[in-house]
Each structure stands twice: as structure tokens, then as C-alpha cells.
Symmetry: C2
Subunit: 527 residues, 2 copies
């Protein structure tokens, strides 16, 4: 098939690579993008997912970038047990309350032949084990042994692990029974140090989401009703998805002395007196891959920010014309090697030459759906011209460009960074266009009420609204609209919502109660 025919075929398919589209059925569109990009699928173990190589490649990049930042901020990795004895989970009252309802319980340690010949659980455990839903209690027990004096502090530990929270309604990446994450756990001599750590790691997450995932972040503190079970303060990052709902992308907790007291984490201070320590914990998970999909994908499939794309550039050799294969392949191989010698964002430019025996259009579309940042078609004419013919995934599929090979190689880092920047700006514009200051209850209710009853997921977006601070107000709004306070936002120089608040002269009054407000909070529907 000639390149012309393929391009024609390609452009015909543009409108329908993912069906339904975002506006037709957003939740189903999400599932179809995950499937078309070959990121993950559900497994025979209820609610557990299989992360396929393209999805896992994204996770590996997330891990590498974050792990480097964790180490630069003084943390060391360690590994703690998968199993938590039931009595440990019970040590912190709020904590067990939060996790007991949805946990995998190990009760036996072998299988043996039952009366009907099949295998049945045998060897009952004297104390059941819980598969970790989070590790504060078991890590706390170890920390209590390790810490003797102020010299052992701060203790800054991170763990990369799988965790299990038994979920009844699962969605790939967003909510699964098992997921992969990192959990940081730190111990400090003073509340001030622990608070500083909590906010430092929130900033690490914010930097990562904005800088590497190209996802703009509103960050702030959770209200009491949304706090981590056992925490004194919980902070979160709250990006907006393309259906205008918020997704909690990561949390950082100041745990005060709650877990130190539950686990007896004590130290001798410089005066020789015994003190309870102060702890923090913080985590992000494979949920970020769901955020990535819902931030950047379009009706043709995934769009990957180059900084976390498993492969930056796909080269598709067009070798159907008799007698051209050798020269085209030689050109593609040497081009790939030249590109691989370049460094983009601290990583070698990753190039894949796709030699699968597929028609060109089908092959190209498979990479569009997977969201590879740049796809190239290289045929004999490109070789003769010393050029590359390529397509940027952040632009329309019909828009392909020619460039002299040497120029492309020289500029490859710049082009990738341009894609990265374009994705961030697009997502940021979307969030800002759908974020409003709302000071009147009726407007607030209208903002969150779908215009079209058939598409209940389409609504206003983020509302920055004053709030009296009362949990009863939160509860009522949640009941009426399924809208919650995502956070009490930070409004500092790096906050995207700062500009919105600059001309804000509205009185600090809660529109729901008429009472005084200490400031605007971020209301939204959420995942």
C-alpha cells in the first residue's frame, strides 16, 4: 500500500478511533482508551488488574522520577511485610475503623483435600493476618524498635509495594482491589519538623504531576471529613479530569503523635528525657495512570507526556516497494541510533522501530491509540531526501510534518519538550476555564446540576466558594449534589487558582449558612 493510501485511510479513521467519544459517554470512553492503549485489564481475581507492558512502562517511569526525588530529599527505601497481624491494625482506633470494612483476611496457611476431594483451607492461624491496606501500624512497630535517641531522627523511609483494599466497584487504575504505590513513613523529633516534611512531600508530588505528568494541580488541606483515618492533617493534590471532576492524585499526612503513641515510637531527647516522636506518611499510586489518561487522552486514544512515555518515538519503515527494504532499514536503524544517543529530561531518547507485518494505517493508528509522542513513517523518498516524515500526538492526526533528518535529530529534545509543554497548557487552560468563584447558593447548585439528565456526568467543574467550616454543610451538599470539598486550597505563587482570586472582593460569608468564612474552599465532584 502506498503512503498516500495509508494517509487517506488514516484521515478517514480520525473521528472514530475511540468509541464512544468523551461527550458521548465519558466513563465508557475511559475504559475504551485504557483498552485501546493496551494499558491494563481486569484479571480473574476479582477487582485486581493486570498491568500490561505499555501501562507498566509508564509506572516504571513514574517510579524512576519519584524515587530519584525521594532520595534527593533524604529518604531511603526499605521493605516491610505484606501481612499485618490483626492486633496491629487495631492499635489505632480511627485507623482500624477506616480499613476493617474492606480488607483481605488471611485465615489459613495451607490447602488440603476436603471431604468431596477438592482442596479446602487448612491450618487455621491463631491470629488472622490482614493483607496491608497501608503500613503505618507494622512500620510503626519496627520504627519503635529502631529509634532510641534524637540522634536516630529524622528517620526517612519509603516503600514501593502492592496494597489491597477490597473494593466492590472497581475501575482500572482508579479503584482496584490491589494496586501498586509508594508509601513514605517518617519520624521526627518535633511537630514542626514533621509538618515541614508533610508539606515538602506534597510539593514533591505537585512538582512531579505538573513537571512530569503535565497535570496542573490545586493543592491544599483536606477537611476533617476527608482526612486519612488517624491523621491530624491530610493534604492532597487535586487535578481536574476532562469531565470536570476532581481526582485525588496523592496525599501527605501529618500524623501528629497518634501513631507514635499507638506504636510506642519514643526517643530520648538531648536532655535524656523520653519523648513520643511525630510521624508523617504520604503516598501516590497507580491511580496516577488513570489521572494521566483522563487528563490528556482524546477521542483517538491516549496522549502521553514525553517525560513518562515508555517510548518517545516510533519509527515505521515503509518497505513495500520492491528493492527498497535494505536502504530504508539502514536509514531507520542509523536514525534510531542517532536519536538514542540524545538525552531528554535525564533519560535516553527511547526509539522503537515497528517492523510488524501490518498495514501502515493500522500500524500508525495502534500507536496513536497508545499515545506515543512522535510517530514517523520512513519510506524510500524520505531516505533519498535525507528527511523524516512525522506526526506529533499532541496535534491533529492529519497534521504531519517533513523535516531534514539532521534538523530533527538536533531538535528532538526541544520537540519533545514542546509536546510536554503543550499538554500542560491545554490541561491548565481546561481547568481554569472550568473553575469559578461562586458566591450564591443557587448559582452553586446550578453549577453542579447536569444540564442534560442523560449525561449526569457533565456539570460545571470546580467551585471556589466560602464555607462556614461546619461538617453539616459539607454533608448536606454531598447529599444534594454528590459534591465534596476537595481541599482548602493553598493560594501561593505556584497555585494555578491564584490569578482567579486576585480581584476577589466578595465578602467572606458562607452562602449556605450566611455565617462567616475563613476563606474559599474547593468544591467539586470527585473520583
Amino acid at each position: 500500500m502506498s503512503k498516500e493510501k495509508e494517509k487517506e485511510k488514516g484521515s478517514k479513521a480520525v473521528a472514530t478511533a475511540i468509541s464512544p467519544t468523551r461527550t458521548e459517554d465519558y466513563p465508557e470512553w475511559y475504559q475504551q482508551v485504557v483498552k485501546a492503549a493496551d494499558l491494563a485489564e481486569l484479571s480473574p481475581a476479582r477487582g485486581c488488574m493486570v498491568i500490561k507492558p505499555w501501562g507498566y512502562g509508564i509506572w516504571e517511569n513514574i517510579q524512576k522520577i519519584l524515587d530519584k526525588r525521594f532520595k534527593e530529599t533524604g529518604h531511603q527505601n526499605a521493605y516491610f511485610p505484606l501481612f499485618i497481624p490483626k492486633s496491629f491494625l487495631e492499635k489505632e482506633a480511627e485507623h482500624v475503623e477506616g480499613f476493617a470494612k474492606e480488607c483481605a483476611v488471611v485465615t489459613h496457611h495451607r490447602l488440603e483435600k476436603g471431604p468431596d476431594g477438592g482442596l479446602v483451607p487448612a491450618g487455621p492461624l491463631s491470629e488472622p493476618y490482614i493483607v496491608r491496606p497501608t503500613s503505618e501500624t507494622i512500620i510503626g512497630a519496627m520504627f519503635a524498635k529502631w529509634i532510641r535517641s534524637y540522634r536516630d531522627l529524622p528517620l526517612l523511609i519509603n516503600q514501593w509495594a502492592n496494597v489491597v483494599r477490597w473494593e466492590m466497584r472497581t475501575r482500572l487504575f482508579l479503584r482496584t482491589t490491589e494496586f501498586l504505590w509508594q508509601e513514605g513513613h517518617t519520624v521526627h523529633a518535633t511537630a514542626e519538623d514533621a509538618r515541614e516534611e508533610t508539606l515538602r512531600m506534597l510539593d514533591v508530588y505537585t512538582d512531579f504531576c505538573e513537571g512530569s505528568l503535565a497535570i496542573p494541580i490545586v493543592r491544599g488541606e483536606k477537611t476533617e471529613s476527608e482526612r486519612f483515618p488517624g491523621a491530624v492533617n491530610t493534604y492532597s493534590i487535586e487535578p481536574m479530569m476532562q469531565d470536570r471532576k476532581a481526582l485525588q492524585g496523592g496525599t501527605s499526612h501529618f500524623l501528629g503523635q497518634n501513631f507514635a503513641k499507638a506504636s510506642e515510637i519514643k526517643y530520648l531527647d538531648q536532655a535524656g528525657a523520653e519523648q513520643f516522636a511525630w510521624t508523617t506518611s504520604w503516598g501516590v499510586s497507580t491511580r496516577l495512570i488513570g489521572a494521566l489518561v483522563m487528563s490528556h487522552a482524546d477521542d483517538n486514544g491516549l496522549i502521553l507526556p514525553p517525560r513518562v512515555a515508555p517510548t518517545h518515538i516510533i519509527i515505521m519503515p515503509m518497505v513495500h516497494k520492491v528493492g527498497t527494504e535494505e536502504k530504508v532499514m539502514e536509514y531507520c536503524n542509523s536514525l534510531a541510533n542517532e536519536l538514542r544517543a540524545k538525552i531528554y529530561a535525564g533519560r535516553e531518547v527511547e526509539v522503537h522501530i515497528d517492523r510488524r507485518d501490518l498495514r501502515g494505517g493500522e500500524k500508525m493508528w495502534s500507536w496513536i491509540k497508545k499515545g506515543a509522542p512522535i510517530c514517523m513513517e520512513i519510506g524510500p523518498r524520505d531516505v533519498d531526501a535525507g528527511a523524516v516524515f512525522f506526526y506529533r500526538r499532541d496535534q491533529e492526526p492529519g497534521k504531519k510534518a517533513n523535516m531534514p533528518r539532521a534538523e530533527f535529530v538536533a531538535k528532538v529534545g526541544e520537540i519533545l519538550e514542546d509536546i510536554q509543554g503543550a499538554l500542560f497548557r491545554r490541561a491548565n487552560n481546561f481547568m481554569m476555564e472550568n473553575t469559578r468563584l461562586i458566591d450564591c447558593k443557587e448559582e452553586f447548585y446550578a453549577f453542579f446540576t447536569p444540564k442534560n439528565a442523560e449525561k449526569p456526568e457533565i456539570h460545571g467543574g470546580y467551585a471556589l466558594t466560602h464555607w462556614s467550616g461546619e461538617s453539616s454543610v459539607e454533608a448536606k451538599i454531598k447529599e444534594d449534589l454528590n459534591v465534596t470539598i476537595r481541599c482548602i486550597p493553598f493560594v501561593d505563587e505556584r497555585s494555578p487558582i491564584r490569578a482567579l482570586l486576585e480581584g476577589d472582593r466578595a465578602p467572606a460569608v458562607c452562602p449556605f449558612t450566611g455565617k462567616a468564612s475563613r476563606g474559599r474552599v474547593l468544591f467539586a465532584k470527585a473520583y
Copy 2:
């Protein structure tokens, strides 16, 4: 304290850093080295270990090096569920037989208040889940969905994960209920391709152990009685520990069509006919850290091969003399940065400046016990002389060297590689000194019988002996001596035992039965 006093103190402590010594009590020596090096400890979850930062740092290096090799040999990482439905484990008869006796069984999905107020398991599962002891069955089920035609083959997947095998007698790293590992799972169109993959990965493991862990390897095929449950052929790497016992360091399995038939992994061949595929699996685990300890540690603690050491060089600034701190620290910092700019074995030279408030001797000994390859003491006189004063962990603690700073920086890679090489040679000499061709039953029994009844662990080592091929002979020897056939060794150009066999003119007769033998096999006691 002056440097002289510290050195004196240091040399006094030489004989006793680890107590007991290897000859006094080898098993207890092992536990004490793991403890003194701060690698890991047991947790409150029975048989599960906590891998501490220094131990986990070794595992991170093992992962990085192997992961790179797996990718270079065409494999991609993915992630599969922690939980295996009981019915999946039952699909392959030998397989379930092998793992049912020691597995963690999840039977409930929440905890609720029981009659006495405590939490009890609730929400029983209709089918129990097994926490994966290995993943052939669940991965096989996914592969069956993914593979349609010969075009999808080979499918080359690896997973980094935790697994659980309920162990009654546990030893840190060597045998724990939960451990970390990688498991490769591949699918091929032909038996030949699958066999080739099985041996390719055995070679990857051999290269890694010899090249990165500095552990010499005898590799070969397992006899039927030691095969992986469900495999057609199992191959293993069998290094010798310092108590002359073998440790199975990794295995690679040719699974034939057993798991393909159990999981219905089929493909359409080029003629359009449906065929069962051929599969392999292969794995190494955190057990390798146990092998590392038992190969290289001495009576002063761990000795780490530089290629997997979390830190290559420890700099201890000696700043006790008034008015010297600033210049010493400046020197140490700039020295560290110069060293960090060097690359050793594909990784930046990792330098840690230890500023803990400890006496010099204590500080130095903490790093000797942890096995850091090079420790430096830098005081004002070294600064004035533009020199470094250092100690190589592969040499005696008393043996310290002075070197001009510039020379050390220039040669650092060479020095590290010299340490790496010295460790390999020492381990290889030890294995060769304790490996013998034995052709007589009495000599064989004497070789494996401890000379001293109080130290049953001290015996001969590896015996290369002819064997009739009968399982009954294996069983008798196991019963009499607790000695097993570790493998039917490969004797090719890379096998360390090749030299021993060069002059071998002994008749190919099994000394236990007088029957004909197809070749010598490797007998040893084993972990």
C-alpha cells in the same frame, strides 16, 4: 581521639567484630552478620522479614542490573495479581501438589465486631484466594487471552513482585514466608525456541552472579526429584557457600506444554492450524542476598562486591582537632564530588560522607561490618598532604593505604574493579579447593561425614560422582547423609569445574550400584 589511638583500637577489635566466627558456629555467624550489617530483621508477621535500607539498597542494585539484561534480551515488565483463585492453582496437578502445603489462604474480605467486641473475619469469599507462591497459573490465564496467532509469539514477560510460601522454619533471606523476586514467563511457538529461552536466562543468571555478585557458579540441570512442580526440565545455578554447602541461587524451567494445556495457551500457526504453545519460567529472589553474605562475608562482617554495593566509598572526616573542621569538610566535599563524577560499571561512584557524632573506631567498624568496599579517614594531615588514607574491605582491617588524592580519583574505577575481581577469585578458589571427583562409595560417605560431631555443618564440599540415574539412589544418599544431587552439571568452556574433569579417565560407573553412568553429577548438602 587521635587517628593513632583509633587505629590501635581498630586493630584490637579485628578478631571479634562478629561473634561467633564462621568456624565457631556457622549458622549463628550468618545471623549475626545480617544483623551487624543492618540488612534485615524478622517482623511481627511470622516468618516475614523487614528488609532494611542497606539490604534493600543491595536489592535495588540487583534489580537494576538484571532488569537491564532482561530488557536487552527482549523482555518487557508487566504486573499480575497478588491473588490466585484456588481453582487456578488446581489446573496443573503437580503444581498444586507442590504449593498447596505452604500457602497463605484469603478467605474473608472484611473484619467486623465479634460477640466479645474484638474484630473477627467477615464477608466470606465464595472461592478462597491464594496469595501467589508463583504465578504460572494466573499469568497463563492472561496469556491464553492475549495470544491469537504465531505473530504474537514469542511473548516475553517479566514481573518484579512479592510472593508467599508459608515456611515453618525461616532464616533471613534464605527462607522466609514472604520474599521479593522476579519471575519471567515466556511463550513460544516451538519447543526449540522455548528450550533456547530457558538456557538463555540460565546464562543471564550465571553472568549476573559471576560478574556482579562475584559468586562463581556451577550450572546444570536438576534431576527429576528436584524439578519445579509442573516443569519438564529445571535448570539451576548452584554456588558454594563458605560452609561448603550449595545454595540454589536461581532456576529456569522449560515447562513444555504442561502449563499451556492447563491454561489453554493456543495459537494459530502459519498454516492456520491451532497449536498448543510452549512456555518457560525463571526466577531469582532476595535469597541472592543470603548467597552474597555467605559467599563473601568474613568474621568482621559483610564484604560487598562493588557492583552491587549501595555505597562504594565512605568518607569519615576527622575533625576533632580545633580549627580544622572547615578545611577538612571542604576537602571531603570536593573529593566526594570528584569521585561522584566518575562512572564505575555503568553507575556513578556512590560516596557517603559519614558525619555521625561517633568515635572514629566505632564509626569505621560500623562500615566494616556493613561491608562498604572502601572506607576513608580524612584528617587535617591528609588535607595538607593532598592525600587520601583508605582501607579496602577485601583486605585485612589493619592494612590501610595512603595515596595522593589525584591518583586515587583517577584510579577509583580500577581499585573498585580490583576488589570485585579479588572477591570472585577468593570465592572461586574456595569452591575449587572443596570440589572433588569421587569414585568410591566409602570415600563419598567419608567426604560428607562431619569430622567433628559438634560441628555437623563442616564436611567436604562438592562431590562430582557418577550416578546410575536411579531416583532410589538419590533417596538413599539423601536419607543417609542429607546430601542431594544439586545438578547434572554443564561442563562447557565457562564451567569452573571443567579443569577438574580434564584428566578424568575414571570409568563411567555409578559407585553406589555398579551400574553404568551417563556422567558425573554434582552431589552436595544444600540450603
